[in-house]
Each structure stands twice: as structure tokens, then as C-alpha cells.
Amino acid sequence: MAVLEIKNLHAEVATEDGEKILRGVDLEVNSGEIHALMGPNGSGKSTTAKVIAGHPAYEVTEGEVLLHLDEDDFGADFEIPEDKRTWDLLDLEPNERAALGVFLGFQYPAEIEGVTMTNFLRTALNAKLEEREELFEDEDEAEDEEEDVGYDTSPMEGPVDEGEVGVAEFQQLLKEKMELLDMDEKFAQRYLNAGFSGGEKKQNEVLQAAILEPSIAVLDEIDSGLDIDRLQDVSKGINALRDEQGTGILQITHYQRILDYVEPDMVHIMLDGEVVMEGDASLAQELEAKGYDWVREEVYGTA
């Protein structure tokens, strides 16, 4: 079981006199659990997500983001040694965090022309496997090995170098995951998010999580801009991440609506850069009924 542990996290915008946004966030998400992170606009939810993933626009001034892994978190064939089971994500590059099993689902996914979904996702999957090897290999081994960035890729056909997961194997995997999410096969050959509708982009985020099989997935407003049919598809996909891969979900949302389909084990409420209230699924319902002013009153006393 993996645990994402955020301790007293402070962060500000990485410019001179950058605005302080996170003022001591404490949060813990276990794999196999679904957590909802709620809060009014500007309370720091999205910043928390970006800081976990390593967005360069924010500077962490205090606190830790730890990932605790179990020996078998990367499957039976990959034994994680005892001294490499806890990682401070803040010391790592975004791609290294991802390789350790932290996934960020974007509120506004990038549109990338000229790079097909298939090429992108297979490159990502192979990069994850390769980066893992590097992160866990002994220091001595690491010195021997030449710094080897990248594969020979061609934009039209994808990497020439097979990588660990070959083209045929990957296409089969992609097909299965797309069926699960009720996505049209034609997406595989389209350029990454280019010209996708809002709903298609969100579905695609969940698809990517399904391919990369993270230990912890942080989903930033995955439910915004979805019609009811698409919301159900996406919810089904999120539940499958948890049920079939044991992924822990930290779901950032404004609305109770998605929580009807993806029932949280725990709800956290943020206010002014801190988590101020926690509870079970009923907290989200209470919040929906009473609003954030109620939270404010509960936390700060009379408004």
C-alpha cells in the first residue's frame, strides 16, 4: 500500500514577492481510497495538486510531500528495497514523481499538435518503467551507465526504439482501456487533446491514469464541464482505477454531483491555504446544504 503524506505544506508563487497560497496543508491519502478535496475558489486546491506534481510556477517554502511505498507496490517482479520506500517528492523532478506513481489529472489538459495519443502514451509508459529502474538502481550501477535520454522518435510513427512495451503490446493495452472508458478507438491516432471537446479531454485524463497505473492520482476538477453521460463514464473510470489497480484518488471538486457516482471515503475542506475540516462522505452533503460560510463560521467562529 502506498501513502501520500502532505505535512505542513507552505507554497507561494515562484516570483519575487510571490503571493503565499498554501499556509500549512496537512493531508494523507492511502492507495485504494477515494478522497475528495473541496473548498471555495482561491482556497489553494489546484495549487496543492500542482505542487504535488512539481509545477515550476510554485515555490515550496516549508513542509514535506512524502510518498511511502510498500515492497510490492510496483508488482511482484519489482521488490522495493527497505531503504527506498519513502521519498520526499519535493526533491524530485516532475517525471521522477510520475515514475514513482503520482499522477496529476489536469483541469485544463494541454493540447499538443503533431504528437499522437498512441505515441505520447507509449513513450510515457516506457519512460516510467525506465525512470523507475534508474531511481532504484544502486549508486554504483548508476555511475556506470551513460546518461541516456530518450528514444529515437519520429513524429509520424512514434519511437523506433521499442522500449519495454512494444507497439503491438501497447496497442492492445490501449484498446482495452479505451473500451473500459467507452472511448472511440479513433482517439488513439488523434493528436493529444487537439480539438478534443472538454468532456473528451477529461476522459482522456482518466484514460492516461488507467495506462500509467499510478499509486496515487490527483484529479483536478475532472468533473467540470461534463454532461451527465460523460460524467458517468468518467466516474466509472475513476472507480475502476481504485477497484482494479488499487489507485488512491485525491479528487478536487466544487460539486457534490460527482461524489454521487464516486463515493469518497473521506472529505477534506480547504480554506485560505489550509485543510480546515475533515469527515466522511456526509460532510460533502452537509457542505452542499450549508455552504462555505458555514465552514468559515465553524472554523473561525462568528464571521
Partner: protein, 403 residues
């Protein structure tokens, strides 16, 4: 006139070149006429921004660069069924009347100093003749320059309702001490309802100054599509132009360049809408790394009689380093109101949010950047009809990224 006639350039030199090739009198006269015009002609116009002249052609030392009597090249020509593909000199025997009529009919040798120099001194080049109703794919010209200087002239003539795709690849062979000069003039006379795609991939060594002017005259219902790929050279000045002289004629001018080190690209695309119902699409994409520089000018002229014109232009330059520099100047000149037109140019760096998105999916920085650059060129690659050209260009881009 700032450019002097190099001392090693004389009437005798030109006569010698012509004599060695056993050329007809009219061609010698054309050469001599070009030679005598040199003193009057200016270098091509270059873009100027306040305090800066982007391309310093004046600094070229033609006396050192031009070695007219020792020109050497190895040119391989692959023909297709029904098409004549000949060295221009050989075409003078069999196709003299066509060559005489069309040679210099699209590119005026007195356009500037460099075109006149080329007409006076050219020693190589290709004649491509596509007879009526012939459809041909995959005509290939692979030219390798082996001397200090080389002047090439290519003439393409397509007759009514014919079609052809041509790939020209220009590179340097034997190494030469010091700087070199390569001049490449291409003219296309596209007959009624004919289709030409002319792809050019320039990858000469980085001691070479490259000048090219490619110009087409598109007749009624004719389509001329240019693909201009520039990767090599120390400095490139490239002008690719189409005159849409026939009603319902069309053109695309697609460009790609990738500069690194201290390379300099001066890339220009121009179209003249001179008839009715004509369409033009100008698309150029370039990438710059290290201290490379680029300057782009795109011009769409819509003539007074050009009713029902469609004309589009886009240019995007992507800079991979802080030290690279780019300037872009898209121009639209409309003299007929019955026109739908657009023009846009952007200069920017790799998008940080795109990078974060990709790295957050485990892809290392360098790999992510390379994928974005390769993806950036895809709209250009997709325009290429000749598979070999598309693969070569993709391969050159890929290996430059991983150098």
C-alpha cells in the same frame, strides 16, 4: 552599388564556361548580358528593423567565394515514366526550342546581383519536361556540391493536364577549405490544369553560403506547391515565389527550417494573385537553437483584377534557446476587395505548460522537448507528397535534436 565585380570574373570566364559546354550562341548572349548587368544590380532586399539590418549579404566576399572555372558537382537524377529529366546542358540538344523559349521566362536574371551572377556562371542544373496528360511521381534530383562555388539552374515545364512530384536534395560532398557559395535558381512554368509539387531539401555544410530563388508561373487551373526545407548552410537566403497568372490557379508555399550553432536563415515566401478565383496558402515553421537567427518575410499581393481571391499565410518560429533570435514580417497587399485573406506570424518558446503536462506523465525534459519540436513540424511534414522527402526531413530534424 556596394558590390564590386570580382576580379576573377570576366567576359573570358563566361565565354569559357559556355564554350566548354558547347552552348548555342543565344545562351552565351544571355550569360554575357547577365554579366554586364552585374554592375548595375543590387543585392536582394533584406528586412530591416530599427537599428538592425538582419542579413548582411554585403559582407559576402564574392572574390574569395566564387571560383567559376572549377565548379564540380555530382548530381543524380531519377526520372519517372513519361517525363524527361535531363541535365540542362544536354537538354539543349533535344529540347532546344523549349529551353530557349522558357529559360529565364519565369525568373528574370536581372532580378538582382545574385540572380545575374548565377545566369552568367551556372554550370549545372536540370531540365524537367512533363508532356501533356502525363502523370508522374517521384522525380528525384540529388545534387552534391564538390567545389568552392556552384551555380545551378533548374527549369521545369509542365504541359496541359500533366502532373509531377519532384524532390530535390542539395548537399555538400568533398570538404573544401574555407567558405563556399551555392546558388540555386529554379523556375517552373506550369501549363494549364497541371500540378507540380517541388520539394527542396537543403543540407549543405556549415561553411557554405546558400542562395536560392524559386519561382513559378501558374497557368489556368494549374497548381504549384512548393516545399522548402532548410537545415544546412552557414547562411541561407531563400526566396520562394509563385505568380498566379491563370484563372483558378493555386499555390502552397510550405517551409521548414531548423537552425543551430551560428546559422542564419533569411526565408521569404511570396505570392502574386494576378487572375480570378486564385488560392494561396503560405505555411512556414522554423525552429532555432543556440545562437541561430532567422528572419522571415511573407508577402501576399492581391492584384486589381484578382476577383474572388483566397489567400492565407501563417508563420511560426519556435526558439529553443535564450540566445536565438527571430523576426517575422507577414505582409498582405490587397488591391481587390473581393478577397478572403489572413496573415499571422508568431515567435515563441516551448510552452511551459505543455512541458509540465508531458513531464508529469513520466516523460523526461529532453524527450518531452524533442517530441514537442517534432510535433511542431508535423503540419509541414503532412504537406509532403513524396515519402522519401518526408522521411528524410523528419530524420534530419530528429538527428539534429539528438545531436
Amino acid at each position: 552599388m556596394s558590390t564590386q565585380l570580382p576580379a576573377n570574373l570576366s567576359e573570358e570566364t563566361v565565354r569559357q564556361i559556355s564554350e566548354d559546354r558547347d552552348e548555342p550562341e543565344w545562351l552565351l548572349e544571355t550569360r554575357l548580358d547577365a554579366l554586364s548587368a552585374l554592375e548595375e544590380l543590387e543585392l536582394p532586399d533584406v528586412i530591416q528593423t530599427p537599428g538592425r539590418r538582419w542579413t548582411n549579404l554585403e559582407q559576402l566576399d564574392f572574390e574569395a567565394l566564387v571560383d567559376p572555372l572549377n565548379a564540380a558537382d555530382r548530381t543524380e537524377r531519377v526520372t519517372a515514366e513519361g517525363v524527361e529529366v535531363l541535365p540542362l546542358v544536354e537538354a539543349l540538344d533535344e529540347y532546344e526550342s523549349i529551353v530557349r523559349e522558357r529559360f529565364g521566362s519565369v525568373v528574370d536574371f536581372k532580378t538582382n546581383y545574385l540572380t545575374a551572377l548565377s545566369a552568367a556562371l551556372f554550370t549545372t542544373g536540370t531540365f524537367i519536361y512533363v508532356p501533356e496528360d502525363v502523370n508522374a511521381e517521384d522525380v528525384k534530383i540529388r545534387a552534391e556540391m564538390n567545389s568552392r562555388s556552384l551555380f545551378s539552374h533548374t527549369l521545369v515545364v509542365t504541359e496541359k493536364s500533366s502532373s509531377v512530384t519532384i524532390l530535390e536534395r542539395v548537399s555538400t560532398g568533398d570538404a573544401v577549405e574555407g567558405e563556399r557559395y551555392f546558388s540555386n535558381l529554379v523556375e517552373i512554368d506550369a501549363g494549364e490544369n497541371s500540378y507540380v509539387q517541388y520539394g527542396s531539401l537543403q543540407n549543405v555544410d556549415e561553411n557554405t553560403y546558400a542562395y536560392t530563388l524559386k519561382r513559378a508561373d501558374a497557368g489556368t487551373y494549374a497548381t504549384v506547391n512548393w516545399i522548402e526545407g532548410n537545415l544546412g548552410s552557414r547562411l541561407t537566403r531563400s526566396d520562394v515565389e509563385t505568380e498566379l497568372n491563370g484563372d483558378a490557379s493555386e499555390t502552397k508555399i510550405v517551409g521548414a527550417f531548423f537552425g543551430h550553432g551560428d546559422q542564419h536563415f533569411d526565408v521569404n515566401a511570396r505570392v502574386w494573385h494576378n487572375a480570378e478565383h486564385t488560392t494561396a496558402d503560405l505555411v512556414t515553421r522554423g525552429v532555432l537553437d543556440d545562437t541561430a537567427r532567422s528572419v522571415y518575410e511573407g508577402v501576399q499581393h492581391v492584384g486589381r483584377e484578382a476577383w474572388d481571391t483566397n489567400s492565407y499565410q501563417r508563420e511560426n518560429t519556435l526558439m529553443l534557446s535564450d540566445e536565438s533570435e527571430a523576426d517575422a514580417s507577414p505582409k498582405l497587399i490587397i488591391n481587390n476587395h473581393d478577397t478572403e485573406a489572413s496573415h499571422a506570424a508568431t515567435v515563441g518558446q516551448v510552452d511551459k505548460e505543455d512541458m509540465f503536462y508531458m513531464t508529469s506523465r513520466s516523460i523526461p525534459d529532453q524527450v518531452a522537448r524533442n517530441m514537442l519540436v517534432e510535433g511542431f513540424f508535423v503540419p509541414v511534414l503532412e504537406e509532403i507528397d513524396v515519402d522519401e522527402f518526408r522521411e528524410d526531413l523528419a530524420e534530419l530534424i530528429s538527428s539534429r535534436l539528438r545531436a
